[in-house]
Amino acid sequence: MTAALLIATTVAACGSDSSASEDAGGPWKFTDGSGETVELESTPTRIIAHSHAAAALLSFGIRPVGIYADVPVEEDPGLKDLDLEGIEILGETWGEIDVEKAATLNPDLIVADWWPVEDAYSGTEGGVKAESKKIAELAPIAGSAQGDSIVSVIEGYEDLARSLGADLSEEGVAGRKQRFEDAVAGFEAAAGAKPDLTALAVSPTNELLYVAVPEHAPELLDFRRWGLDVIIPDDPDKAFPYWENLSWENADKYQPDLLLVDDRSYPENLEQAEKQPTWDTIDAAKAGSETPWPGYWIHTYEDYAEQLESLTAAIDKADPKLGSS
């Protein structure tokens, strides 16, 4: 591994990478989302990242040398529109990372989300191949913790990028952050203007209508924090507390003013829901007051800004007198 560091330092000193490191020779320290501190002899420049973390790093101007993803890269919502030229793809199936190829890249740092519940980073969770876990032996891992806010996830990667020497005042990067901050302001204003507005986050399937419990969905917690009253269901599934399951007979249990529909199979899931005879017993559904809600994949200011802007538009259109709850 000494050889790898030597190469890395030399390359960094030549300044050929996009990551501008001013103190290429000095030691590097970072305390990440898991609370552990990573210490290296110099700022890492050869980074392998999990797809979501990679999207985050790329948005701050840090370019990894390798990416491992859970789905084919062209289908990953965070990566599909990005330019990944020159980056080695180390895996496109969940749980299978080509650690041998990763080893040849001589990484200094692995970056991936930290999941407190699983006590693991993305790519090294309980069920992956043991070989994939060996990626942790190539280099230390650091990453932002998944918790009760998407903003904190992004901020975590912002801090990491800063410590890696990214120039956050660079026009593109700063611009994206500004757009996000404007989007949040717009969202808060819209929500504030309609204090009685209620929203319900749902995931409709053919068999059941699942109502999301905000406590387990960081985006929903963010929305609540910014003033949108996302309804908290009162009877979540005992064994699976992230949702309350409603039979289609009981679709009208909650009557929000705005429906937030899970965007992972949108708009097909909405179309299927509309075919259910009781979908229109939800007044908001009947009035067409619905908008997609992004689940779990957002890792950059830009993506979040985009989603918030469309949500704000939906809030502006919504009628707070529709639903009863």
Binding site: G95, E100, E118, A130, E131, K134, D237, F240
Partner: protein
Amino acid sequence: MTGGVTTLRTAPVGASIRTLRLHRRRSRFALTALLGALAFALFVITLTVGSSSIPVTDVLASLFGLESNEGVDFIVHDLRLPIAGAALCVGLALGIAGTLFQQLLNNPLAAPEFVGISAGASLAAVSGIVLFAWSGIEISLAALAGAFAAAILIYALAWRGGISGYRLILIGIGLTELMLALVTYLIARAQIYDAREATHWLTGSIGQSGADELRALIVVLLLLSPLALLLNRSLRTLQLGDDAARGLGARVETARLGLLAIAVALVAFATAVAGPIAFVALVAGPIAHRILGPTQSSILAAGFVGASIVLVADLIAQQVLPVALPTGVVTGAVGAPYLLWVLVTLNRQGRGG
């Protein structure tokens, strides 16, 4: 399938029979050794292929500790050896267990996945992943416990003054359907990332678990295989059917229980290492039987066949396919043509049924 007993009764023809039996034993030994060599060759091949091409000589040197090169050592010892080792051991265990099941239950379609043990392991492991966010060794332990619990339950339910192989299979199927219904339910309700993890485990993949589970499997293999070979003699009498065996004074139930327990233990530990790998246990015995000829199947031969199948499947799954997939996907694809081959050959011999 009648082996030694009939030849005893025809003693006057003694000398030529004895020569024949010696001949058969020698060729059986030779074929078994050949199968062992094949398994070992595949083991070495698994060590030599990968994303970085390392010359065979370097691999062997690193393997036997003759040279010390950090990069090569990491790849060979940390990445490839556990995989190759796991494939070898899991294949051995499943092959041996499969042929034991088939002979004990006197049914060529008997396999742990039909008898309910794999389903028990699966239910326990998936519950752990989906309900308790367990990881790594905890999942393997759960799988182990689930396999044993299911085996005990099936045996208890099937026991009615004795075990009939037929009843055992039927009850195994019933319990399998029950457990798989629960597994499907858990996967439907879980968060998608847990569902994905559970599905990945269910497919069965070499290299899924860590060194501890593999070590446990190796110990179990080393201890139980000789024991199974010893008990094999009782097995031959069992093949005459319960009544005849009882008449010969063989202690049917004890021998059967012992061999069953060994088979269950092998499957349980193999499943803890690699998840439920489909079809290896089903096809290893019959393939070995076919290769060795019309004598009794050799348990060891079945083990080597199992090891070869798993090693080949893993090579295909990891190196040949465009996208790396878990091993279990390939063994399923291999199981199908094998069964078709059985059909076609059964057919030609006019023994279609």
